[in-house]
C-alpha cells in the first residue's frame, strides 16, 4: 500500500483519540458514580460488618387434576435459621432456643452434625415453626445473634391419603442425591421431590432459587438488607396438569375395602391418560412436608401392610383368568382361531394332554363353547386348546411384543417390570430345565411364570378398548398426544367379539352380574390368583371397562384386592363403583352410593336393567 497521507493519518488519529478518551471517560464516570455519588450505599455500616448471602426457596409448581382442582400447592411457613458463626456460638444459641422452641436432643445432635459439614452456610433449624414460637423468638431477638426467620413456601397436598402414592412426597435433598448427575445444580437445603410425581417432574416443578444479601455485624446479627445490590427473586416452578381425577381418587379411597391390601387403576380410553392409580393402604404426603418425625416414619416403615409400597405399579401378581383375554387376542391377532368356531374337544371338567390331566375350574365341565362363551365361562379347557394352537414360541414372542416382560413406561420414578418369559431360554435360566410345549397350557390361562402389575393389565385392556393399540400410560398431561407403545392387528369385528365375551361376564349368568350398573355398560373379566403367602385366600382380580349403553367404552378399570378370595364378590364391585362414579360425573348423572345391582337389591331399589339383555 502506498504511504498513508499525513492529513488522513491526522484525521484518523483524532477519531481514535476521541474514541479512546470516550471509553476511559465512561469508566471514570462509572467510578465517579460508585465511589463519590453512591459511596454511602456501598459502605457497610462499620468495618466489621459483612455481607451474607441468603437463598430464597422458590415455590414449587402447582399441580392440577383433570378438572382443574388443585392437587398440590404451597402455603407460607416460618423457617428458623442461624447464620454461620463459630461452633460454640451455634451450640449455645440452639440450647437457649430450646426454651422457646421444641427441639429434641436428637435433633440438636443432628443439627450440630450438619453444621460440622457445612459450617459456612446458614443452618436451617426448622422449616415449619409454629407462629407462637416464632413470635417468642422474635421478642428475644437480641439474645440470638445470627437468628434469621423468614416465610418459606411449604407444600400442601389436598388429596391426603387418597393421593399419597401418586404424589409421592418432598424432602430436603440428601447428600447422596447431591452427588448424582441429576442434582448437580442443586444446593444443600433445597426441597426436592422424593417419590411419585414430585420426583418424576422434579425439574419442572422446582423453579429456581432467589438470592438476597443481608448485612451482618461482627457477632453475626443482621443489621439490615444490603442496598447495594438488588436481590434476585425466586422463580416459581412450572405448573403441572394431570390426567388424574382427584375426586375419583378420593372416592376409591373411600370405597376400598377397609384394611385390605390392593390397588385400583383407571385409564381414560380416549386419551390413554391415567384417571386413577390407587394403592391401599396409603399414606398422607403432608406428613412428610418439613421432615417427617421419626416415630411416624417408623410406623409407616414397619407396618406389615407396607403403606409406602405402591401396589399399582410395583406389586406383581399372577394375572390368572384376566389373562385369558390376552390369549384370545393373541390368537385372533395371529389368525389361528375364528371367534364363532368351537374347539374340537368339549369341556368335561378337564383335558388330557401329554401325560397329565389338565383341570378346568369347574369339574362339571362347560361343554362345547365358542370364544365368547369361553370368555364368559372362563373355561380352561377351551383356552388350553387355544394356547396349543398358538404354540409356545409364538405365545412368548407375542406377549413380549405387547410388553408383558417389561415396564409400561408410566411417568412415575419406579415401576416393576412384568415377569413373563421373553424366550425359551427363560426356563433354563430360571428353573434349570428345557421348556416343552406343555408350558403353553399354563400360560394360556394366566398361570406359570407370569406376574404383572395392575397397571400393566390395565394398559392391555386399554389396548382392546382402543381397538388394538395402547400408549404408555401417563399421569401428567403433556402437549403432544401419547405415542402408541404397541399395536395389534385386530379387525374391529374381532375386537367386538372379545368385548362381547367380557360383556357376557356382567350379564345374567356371568360371574360379575351382581356388579352390573344401571346407567353404564360394564364389561370385564374376574380372576382369582394364587396367593403365595396363603394358598387358602387367593387374590381377587377384576379387569374391565365401561361406557354408556350402546356406546364405546370410556374407562378401563383394573382392581386387585390381595387375599380378597373372590374376584366377583370383592374386586368387581370395587371396579364397577369406581367406573360408575367417574362416568356419572362425566355424563352429568348425579352421583349415588347405590350403584351396583347387588347394592340395588340390598337397598330394596328396583333394578330395571337386570332383565335387559
Amino acid at each position: 500500500m502506498k504511504k498513508f497521507p499525513p492529513l488522513q493519518r491526522r484525521r484518523r488519529g483524532q477519531v481514535a483519540l476521541l474514541l479512546t478518551a470516550l471509553m476511559m471517560g465512561i469508566l471514570v464516570a462509572a467510578f465517579f458514580r460508585a465511589q463519590v455519588l453512591r459511596s454511602s450505599t456501598w459502605s457497610l455500616q462499620s468495618d466489621s460488618n459483612r455481607l451474607r448471602l441468603l437463598t430464597l426457596p422458590a415455590p414449587r409448581g402447582t399441580i392440577f387434576d383433570r378438572n382443574g382442582l388443585i392437587v398440590a400447592d404451597n402455603v407460607p411457613a416460618y423457617s428458623i435459621s442461624l447464620l454461620p458463626a463459630p461452633r460454640d456460638s451455634i451450640a449455645a444459641s440452639l440450647q437457649r432456643m430450646r426454651e422457646y422452641l421444641p427441639i429434641s436432643d436428637a435433633r440438636v445432635e443432628q443439627l450440630m452434625a450438619t453444621f460440622g459439614r457445612y459450617s459456612r452456610q446458614p443452618l436451617l433449624v426448622t422449616s415449619d415453626a409454629a407462629f407462637e414460637h416464632v413470635a417468642a423468638l422474635e421478642e428475644r431477638r437480641a439474645d440470638f445473634p445470627g437468628l434469621f426467620m423468614e416465610m418459606r413456601p411449604k407444600r400442601r397436598y389436598y388429596g391426603g391419603e387418597a393421593m399419597g402414592h401418586v404424589m409421592g412426597h418432598v424432602g430436603e435433598v440428601s447428600a447422596r442425591e447431591l452427588e448424582t448427575e441429576r442434582f448437580r445444580d442443586y444446593s444443600r437445603g433445597m426441597v426436592v421431590g422424593k417419590d411419585g410425581l414430585e420426583r418424576s417432574y422434579e425439574e419442572d416443578l422446582q423453579g429456581s432459587q432467589g438470592i438476597r444479601f443481608v448485612e451482618v455485624d461482627a457477632v453475626g446479627r443482621i443489621v439490615g438488607a444490603f442496598e447495594g445490590e438488588s436481590s434476585e427473586d425466586p422463580e416459581p416452578g412450572a405448573d403441572l396438569q394431570l390426567h388424574l381425577d382427584m375426586e375419583l381418587m378420593e372416592w376409591i379411597h373411600a370405597i376400598f375395602p377397609q384394611g385390605m391390601r390392593g390397588a385400583l387403576v383407571a385409564l381414560d380410553v380416549e386419551e390413554g391418560g391415567v384417571l386413577a392409580l390407587y394403592s391401599n393402604p396409603s399414606f398422607d404426603p403432608n406428613d412428610f412436608v418439613g421432615g417427617i418425625d421419626t416415630e411416624a416414619w417408623q410406623r409407616l416403615n414397619e407396618d406389615p401392610d407396607r403403606p409406602l409400597f405402591n401396589r399399582a405399579v410395583l406389586g406383581l401378581y399372577p394375572p390368572a383368568s384376566t389373562w385369558k383375554l390376552a390369549t384370545a387376542a393373541i390368537a385372533l391377532d395371529l389368525g389361528v382361531v375364528d371367534a364363532e368356531g368351537h374347539m374340537p374337544i368339549a369341556c368335561t371338567g378337564g383335558l388330557n394332554w401329554g401325560n397329565r390331566y389338565w383341570r378346568c375350574w369347574n369339574p362339571r365341565g362347560h361343554g362345547s363353547l365358542n370364544l365368547v362363551e369361553a370368555l364368559r365361562d372362563s373355561c380352561n379347557v377351551y383356552f388350553y386348546q387355544l394356547g396349543l394352537r398358538v404354540g409356545l414360541e409364538r405365545m412368548l414372542n407375542e406377549a413380549t411384543r405387547l410388553g408383558f416382560s417389561n415396564e409400561c413406561g408410566v411417568d412415575l420414578p419406579r415401576e416393576s417390570r412384568g415377569i413373563f418369559p421373553a424366550g425359551l431360554d427363560f426356563w433354563e435360566r430360571e428353573f434349570g430345565y428345557r421348556a416343552n410345549e406343555s408350558e403353553v397350557l399354563s400360560l394360556s390361562i394366566g398361570q406359570g411364570p407370569n406376574s404383572q402389575t395392575p397397571l400393566k393389565m390395565a394398559q392391555f385392556y386399554l389396548g382392546l378398548a382402543r381397538g388394538g393399540s395402547a400408549p404408555a400410560p401417563q399421569l401428567a398431561r403433556t402437549e403432544s398426544a401419547l405415542p402408541e407403545a404397541w399395536t395389534m392387528d385386530l379387525t374391529s369385528e374381532n375386537v367386538e367379539w372379545l368385548l362381547e365375551g367380557l360383556r357376557m361376564v356382567v350379564r345374567p349368568g356371568g360371574t360379575a352380574f351382581m356388579s352390573s350398573l344401571e346407567h353404564f355398560d360394564l364389561m370385564g373379566k374376574t380372576g382369582t390368583a394364587q396367593n403365595s403367602d396363603d394358598p387358602e385366600t387367593p387374590h381377587a382380580w377384576f379387569a374391565g371397562m365401561a361406557g354408556p349403553w350402546g356406546g364405546d367404552p370410556e374407562i378401563v378399570v383394573v382392581a386387585i384386592v390381595e387375599a380378597g378370595e373372590s374376584g366377583s364378590a370383592v374386586a368387581a364391585p370395587l371396579a364397577a363403583k369406581a367406573a360408575d362414579f367417574y362416568l356419572r360425573r362425566k355424563h352429568g348423572i348425579p352421583v349415588d352410593t347405590i350403584q351396583t345391582l347387588r347394592e340395588h337389591y340390598q337397598a330394596g331399589r328396583p333394578a330395571p336393567w337386570a332383565g335387559r339383555q
Partner: protein, 411 residues
C-alpha cells in the same frame, strides 16, 4: 542521567508512562498481599512481579534495537508459529490456579507461558503486514473478509481454550487495524452490527428501533455496498437478534450457567456474582480518597477474589479511592494517546498498523478488566496491562512498547 534515560527509552513519554504503571502495579500487588490471614501465594507475588519487570525491561531493550523491516519479515512465520502454538495448547496445554479447568499455559524447556499472549503480538504483526501490502484501503465488506479470517483463526483457537476475555482482545486488534488502514467507518459499523444487535435484542423495542436504523443505514450506504453484502449484514443481524435471544431465554437457568461456564470455566456463575458484589463493595466503600494504601478492609479480610491478578483494580479502588482510580485511568489514557500520536507521525503503513493493533488490544484489556470490577461488563478473566500480576503478559506488553519506540525512532 536524563540523557541516558532518553537514549535507552527512545521515546520518553511512552516508556515513562509504561514504567510508572508497571511500578504502580508492583506496589498494588504488594498491597494485595497484605491480608489479615496471610496467603503465601499472594504475599510473595510482588517480588516475583518485580523480577518479571526486570526481565521485561531487558526484553524492551532488546526489541527496541531490532529494525522495523525485521519485524515485517518475521510477521508471516511468526503468525504461523503462533497458530501452531495455540493449536498445540489445546492438545497439551495446562491450567493453573483458579483456571485449573482450562488449557492456557504451555511448557517448553521448563518455561511456562501463555501462547495466547504471543498470539496477540503475532496477529498484530501479521495483520499489519497484510494490510500494509494491499494496493488500496479496504472499501467494502468484501475487503474485510480476508483480514477477518486472519484474525479469526487465532481468535477461535483462543476461544476454544476457552478464554473469552483474550478472544475479545483479538476483536479489538482487528477493528483497530482495519480502522487505521482506512476502512470506511460505516463498513466497520456494519461489521460490528450483529454483535450490537445481539446485545440490544434483550429488549424488543430497543432492538426494533435498532433494526430500523440499520436498514436505514444500509439504504443510505447502498451505493458503496454490493447487494449481497447488504443482505448478508441484514441477515446476520436478524439471526443474531431473533434466533439467539429466544434460544437463550428458552434455556433453563442451570443450562445458561453451564453455557457461561463453558465459555469461561474459571468463572462459577453464582460465585462470579458474589465476587462482583465484593468487588463493588470494595470500590464503592473506597469513596473519594480511599481507605489508604494497604488498608483496604475488604481486601484484608480476603473478600476480594483474584485480587492480585484480574481484580487488582478493586484493590486500587478500595485503597486509593476515586482519586486513585481516575488517576490510573488518566495514566492509561495518556499512554494510549501517546501511542496514537506516534502512529500519526509514522508514514510507514506497516509501523502505524502495528501501533494501532497494540492500541486495539490494550483498549479492550483496560475497558473489560476495569469495567468488570464495577459490573459494567460481564466478569471474564482478562488482566490489566502493566498492572496485573502475570509474567507472560507483562513481558509481552513491554515487548510491544519496545517495538513501538523502535518504529517511532526509525521514522
Amino acid at each position: 542521567m536524563t540523557g541516558l534515560f532518553r537514549r535507552w527509552a527512545l521515546d520518553v513519554p511512552l516508556v515513562a508512562l509504561a514504567l510508572l504503571l508497571s511500578l504502580f502495579g508492583v506496589a498494588m500487588i504488594f498491597s494485595a498481599g497484605v491480608l489479615n490471614v496471610p496467603s503465601p501465594v499472594v504475599q510473595g507475588a510482588w517480588i516475583r512481579q518485580l523480577v518479571w519487570l526486570a526481565m521485561a525491561l531487558g526484553v524492551f531493550t532488546a526489541f527496541s534495537r531490532i529494525p522495523v523491516r525485521w519485524y515485517e519479515w518475521a510477521a508471516v512465520p511468526g503468525y504461523l508459529v503462533a497458530v501452531v502454538l495455540l493449536a498445540g495448547t489445546l492438545v497439551m496445554g495446562q491450567g493453573s490456579g483458579s483456571s485449573a479447568g482450562v488449557q492456557r499455559w504451555i511448557e517448553i524447556g521448563g518455561f511456562r507461558f501463555q501462547p495466547s499472549e504471543v498470539g496477540k503480538i503475532a496477529t498484530i504483526l501479521a495483520l499489519a503486514r497484510y494490510l500494509a501490502f494491499r494496493e488500496r484501503s479496504p472499501t467494502g465488506l468484501r475487503d474485510v473478509v480476508a483480514p477477518s479470517a486472519l484474525v479469526g483463526l487465532p481468535l477461535v483457537l483462543v476461544l476454544l481454550q476457552p478464554d473469552l476475555g483474550t478472544a475479545f482482545a483479538f476483536v479489538g486488534i482487528l477493528f483497530a487495524g482495519l480502522f487505521w488502514a482506512g476502512t470506511p467507518i460505516p463498513v466497520l459499523l456494519f461489521m460490528a452490527s450483529p454483535g450490537l444487535g445481539l446485545v440490544l435484542s434483550f429488549d424488543t423495542r430497543v432492538w426494533s428501533a435498532y433494526m430500523v436504523f440499520l436498514a436505514l443505514g444500509l439504504f443510505l450506504y447502498r451505493f458503496r455496498l454490493y447487494l449481497v453484502e447488504s443482505i448478508a449484514v441484514a441477515l446476520a443481524n436478524v439471526v443474531a437478534g431473533t434466533v439467539a435471544m429466544p434460544v437463550w431465554s428458552s434455556l433453563a437457568q442451570y443450562q445458561r450457567n453451564r453455557l457461561l461456564v463453558f465459555l469461561d470455566p474459571a468463572l462459577d456463575p453464582r460465585g462470579a456474582g458474589w465476587n462482583l458484589i465484593q468487588s463493588k463493595v470494595a470500590i464503592g466503600s473506597g469513596g473519594l480518597t480511599g481507605k489508604g494504601y494497604t488498608e483496604g478492609s475488604q481486601k484484608r479480610l480476603d473478600f476480594l477474589p483474584e485480587q492480585h491478578t484480574d481484580f487488582i483494580f478493586s484493590v486500587i479502588g478500595e485503597e486509593l479511592g476515586f482519586l486513585g482510580t481516575s488517576l490510573a485511568l488518566l495514566a492509561f489514557l495518556l499512554l494510549l494517546a501517546r501511542l496514537i500520536r506516534l502512529a500519526e507521525q509514522l508514514s510507514d503503513p506497516f509501523a502505524g498498523l502495528v501501533l494501532f493493533g497494540m492500541l486495539g488490544s490494550w483498549l479492550v484489556h483496560i475497558f473489560v478488566n476495569v469495567g468488570m470490577t464495577i459490573g459494567l461488563v460481564p466478569v471474564t478473566g482478562i488482566p490489566l496491562p502493566f498492572v496485573s500480576y502475570g509474567g507472560t503478559f507483562l513481558l509481552m506488553c513491554w515487548l510491544s512498547i519496545g517495538m513501538a519506540v523502535r518504529m517511532a525512532r526509525e521514522e
